[in-house]
């Protein structure tokens, strides 16, 4: 990524590279900012291969820190800046994190107690930045007075990032992405969108997700300008910035676009004279939503995408009216091979439903410190197994049929029921619980997290208490939005919770 940035800076250093609110950086300035961060991080003792976490809101400082970490040869670990301390601690321990960088001491979580904390004023890194802001570097290892433990598993060559994702088991898994895989993801994005240096790429989702971060890489590859929208909570504010900055390409999640269409349609339509492409991913896009966006933005391509953290760009297609292949998520990106497998792992003929497998240079190297999960992911001859079920028609179009596991997709955020159940079981008055997906009654999120809870004898529980309890232990997106308090859970003959019966009862 840095090489692309430096090449662009050398060619046309004065061109605009990044807009963050009132701050504008040229390619030369962004390259200098990345170097400045790298110098500070190296001075703090970071060596190539060390894991360095970043817990920052979307900002120019985030991008400079991301590129600075890569410049040191360190492994980038993006973290949700609003995650509770327990979640941060889990990532710190799992990666044996050398340093954690945050946009303020309050976001350091458990690392704030480190004896080794360095504050770097943003005015030292980013030209024209008010002197009030800072990046704070803390060494979680210094807290314990020792160097981080060596990871059990040897990292793959060229490991560049570890991105956490919810899997079937309770603990989030760190997806290992190499520099070459991320370069391929960026190249594929540029090719699919036809991105060029004249484009202005709007970022309206959190950068700690690979879904947004890959757009930064794609913009750098194309030499395009990044427009980081501030105040992501306020859709009207986001659309104002998108319009004022003449953004040409946006990617987002269906839940977010559903909100824009429902409440901010006029503002979105005003962006139609400069937006040339809009991509929707991370969750299925209802056909009515794609049609509504197309009618508001008649000149823009509306692109439906499918990917995994483990392989960021798998399939895509443009939404069309009338839709010649309703229900399809498109064909594989160039260089991506796709097949469906039966229960024995054997390839299936076209139109036969099965487990989706793929082979691509964009694929993850595996899961950090999780050799068993890595073995489950990586099949022979470079194929990897997705968690999704579907069929591929005779023309290569993929039709998704849902996940094979219980992972919940709430507004594009993946939530592991096991992780939520583990948090709920920490409540002294919870005797038993099961977590399922339920349809979002408001229709925005697709699915919501539903917790079915059995109180301990004599225990009194209600949704408010349980919500409060979970919010202190889980990221907000994982906190159940609905609760049922029941006397007992149905169980199978083997004593496992009978999710099928629970789901049928909920339906």
């Amino acid at each position: 990524m840095l090489e692309w940035l430096r090449q662009r800076a050398a060619r046309e250093g004065g061109a605009e590279a990044l807009v963050d609110g009132g701050q504008r950086l040229t390619f030369a300035q962004l390259a200098a900012a990345a170097c400045a961060v790298a110098a500070r991080v190296q001075a703090a003792g970071v060596a190539p291969g060390d894991r360095v976490g970043l817990a920052c809101e979307n900002s120019a400082a985030f991008v400079a820190a991301y590129l600075g970490i890569l410049d040191c040869g360190a492994v980038f670990v993006p973290l949700d800046p609003s995650a509770p301390p327990a979640v941060l601690q889990s990532a710190i321990e799992d990666t044996a994190m050398r340093w954690l960088i945050a946009d303020g001491p309050a976001r350091l979580g458990p690392a704030a107690a480190s004896s080794d904390v360095v504050r770097v004023g943003l005015d030292e890194i980013l030209p024209g930045n008010p002197p009030s802001g800072s990046l704070t570097l803390a060494s979680p290892a210094a807290r314990a007075g020792q160097a981080p433990a060596a990871p059990e598993e040897t990292a793959p060559d060229g490991l560049q990032a570890i991105v956490y994702t919810s899997g079937t088991t309770g603990r989030p898994k760190g997806v290992m992405l190499t520099a070459s895989a991320l370069r391929e993801v960026a190249e594929a994005g540029v090719a699919m969108l036809g991105l060029r240096a004249s484009d202005r790429v709007g970022i309206i989702t959190p950068l700690f997700h690979l879904y947004a971060l890959r757009e930064v890489d794609a913009a750098l590859r194309a030499g395009a300008c990044l427009v980081l929208a501030r105040n992501l909570t306020f859709p009207a504010s986001v659309l104002r910035q998108v319009h004022a900055e003449r953004v040409t390409y946006l990617s987002g999640v269906p839940a977010g676009f559903a909100l824009l269409v429902e409440r901010y349609a006029e503002m979105l339509a005003r962006c139609g004279d400069h937006l040339r492409a809009v991509a929707l991913g991370t969750a299925p896009c209802p056909p009515a939503l794609a049609a509504a966006i197309r009618s508001l933005l008649p000149k823009a391509r509306v692109i439906l995408t499918y990917g995994l953290t483990e392989a960021s760009r798998v399939c895509c297609r443009d939404a069309e009216e009338p839709d010649p292949r309703p229900g399809s998520i498109g064909r594989p990106y160039p260089g991506v091979e796709l097949r469906t497998l039966d229960d024995r792992g054997m390839p299936l003929p076209p139109n036969t439903p099965g487990r989706i497998a793929l082979r691509t240079a964009m694929a993850a190297a595996g899961y950090w410190n999780r050799p068993e999960a890595t073995r489950d992911l990586r099949l022979a001859e470079g194929w990897i197994l997705s968690p999704d079920h579907g069929r591929i028609d005779e023309n290569g179009y993929l039709f998704l049929q849902g996940r094979v596991d219980e992972v919940i997709n709430s507004g594009g955020e993946k939530v592991s029921p096991d992780e939520v159940e583990a948090a709920l079981r920490g409540h002294p008055q919870v005797a038993d619980c099961a977590v399922l997906s339920a349809d979002d009654p408001d229709g925005h999120l697709g699915q919501i997290v539903l917790a079915i809870v059995v109180p301990a004898p004599g225990g009194r529980l209600d949704a408010e208490e349980l919500t409060r309890f979970c919010a202190g232990r889980l990221e907000l997106r994982k906190v159940p939005r609905a609760f049922r308090i029941v006397e007992s859970l149905p169980r199978t003959a083997l004593g496992k919770v009978d999710r099928g019966r629970l789901r049928a009862a909920e339906a």
């Binding site: 509770p84 859709p235 925005h444």
Partner: protein, 87 residues
Amino acid sequence: MPTTDFASLETTLRGYLEKLADSRGKALPNLGRAERLIDRGIFDSMSLLDFVVFTEKSCGIKIPGEDVHPENFGSLEAIMLYLQERL
């Protein structure tokens, strides 16, 4: 049109925000009128929409999407100033 009791309205909205914050494990003791709500971590785009709908019902008005930005909804003080202009 009856005169709006803004003190009572502010108490109602403050109560809603406190309850919302409480449900997210982020208590709001002594929430300052000018304090940035976003910094207290209680809003995401969905809960903000819920709050706007609650405000609409409490005030009997329709709040256009374009008005829902930090200058109008960034703090309790900003919200009350906006509503005083609208009501």
